[in-house]
Amino acid sequence: MDQILLDYLPIAVLIGIGIFFAVLLPSLSVSLGPKPPKDRNLAPYESGMVAIGEAQRRLPVKFYRIAVLFILFDVDIILLVPWAVAFRKLGVYGLVAMLIFMVMFILGDAWVWKKGVLEWE
């Protein structure tokens, strides 16, 4: 196998351990816990009232705006991280190129701010 894949083998093992614990502990809970009659107590909790309507409903668009904004910013930032490691080797050209990129980044931020995307309500 590739060395680079072998590096990630412990991670795969850890995923297995995580799933093992996360399945084991609740199943203990299932076998040890009381089993009262399950009629009313399965109803979704709504402060003691009978739940009205579906819970999986439409939500305000402002959450969506934040999520889209995050994706845009995240893609930008992810490009910065490898550059941060290598920027001394990249020389002045790498520096100037990334500074221009970051200016565009800031312009985008300013535009989003001015458009009122960040306003909540």
């Binding site: 590096d7 093992v13 351990i17 609740p26 819970a55 999986q56 959450f63 930032i77 500074l99 800031i106």
Partner: protein
Amino acid sequence: MNIAELFPKLLDLTVFDYLRSVWGNAPWVEVVLDIIAILTVSTFALLLVFLLGWTERKVLARMQDRIGPNRVGGRFGQLQMVADVVKMMTKEMIIPAGADRIAYFAAPILSLMTSLLLFAVLPFAPGLIGVDLNVGVFYVLSISSVSVVALLLAGWGSNNKYALLGAFRSVAQLVSYEVPMILSILVPILLARSMSTVGLVEAQPIPFFFYAPLSAVIFFVASLAETGRSPFDLLEAESEIIAGFHTEYTGMVFGLFMAAEYIGIIFMSALFVTAYWSGYRLFGLENVVLNGLQLGRILGFLVIAGKTAVVFFLFMWIRATLPRFRIDQLLNFGWKFLVPLSIVLIFVVVILDKVLVEVGLVGGSNEVVRMGIHLVSNLLIGWATIEILRRRAKTARQDYEAEAAARDAARVTAPAHAD
């Protein structure tokens, strides 16, 4: 091999060579050694939850002028968390009506798994690390964004309006603070020129906090928000949305979320220490060798444990002190303050570092000069930021006062209808 021989071998890590010599050099041996290392790390992380849960309850109680746990397992209630876990195990398990079963059960599993996965790249002492990835910080950032998916699954899967609302709020918060967090941890990466967590520690004879205190503060605030701690505990604002995304979870399934939260907090404190306070290093204590016994490993571990405990104490202190943010204030603080500030910071650090390299002020005795220049630039940015904020606050206050005065004047000149 008896215990007296095993101990030094454990310390200088030749125990792995010993195992290799016994078992031969087959490829599966490496796999087994990896599994041993990772089992140690994950068991350690899971056991930490007991310790930290108890510590937090005790410290918070003291801060609020209470005694806290004092019955189970002695006068300090040392076994309180064990009792809690037993209690959670023997609770009724509920799958709410109309729940999406796959999403409902995938959420806690994913949540615990991601926080355990983070511990794989945390350096505990020289050579003592689950797996030293060359993209360690990158790995941390990508894994911690998966935990957002767990929240969303929990909120969507449990067919509860509070859970859904809580999940959406938390996701908005977590993704908003991920941006300043990545931007601020870029500064240590820039200074160390390495993404590996071990590389970060090795590059810090002087802790990076003294190069970039502003970046450290931004990272600390963002990590408070990322772990959903007070004052950013909108994830489970119990006075507004019952318990947020885990409203419908009972027993040990809820316990998984709690364990994941504690593991996440301790990892964030440890990452803060690793990136800004030179991890396990403290005046060369980590390299102490006594009679051929590599004591440095134990000392290094104690050093990082102590530093992490201090940061964790800060987390608790802030939780006991500050009230909760409103969500619009929270998002404004993230997007309009932390993000621009950290971008400016990266600009300055990059240009300064380039200039310093060109001048030749790098390494050796020049390191202190380099640190000083970075520190001064950071303090200048911090001062300018505070000055800008102060002026804006001043104009806002003046506007408000002028408005109030106009209102008062209108009231005085208005015809008195009492006559």
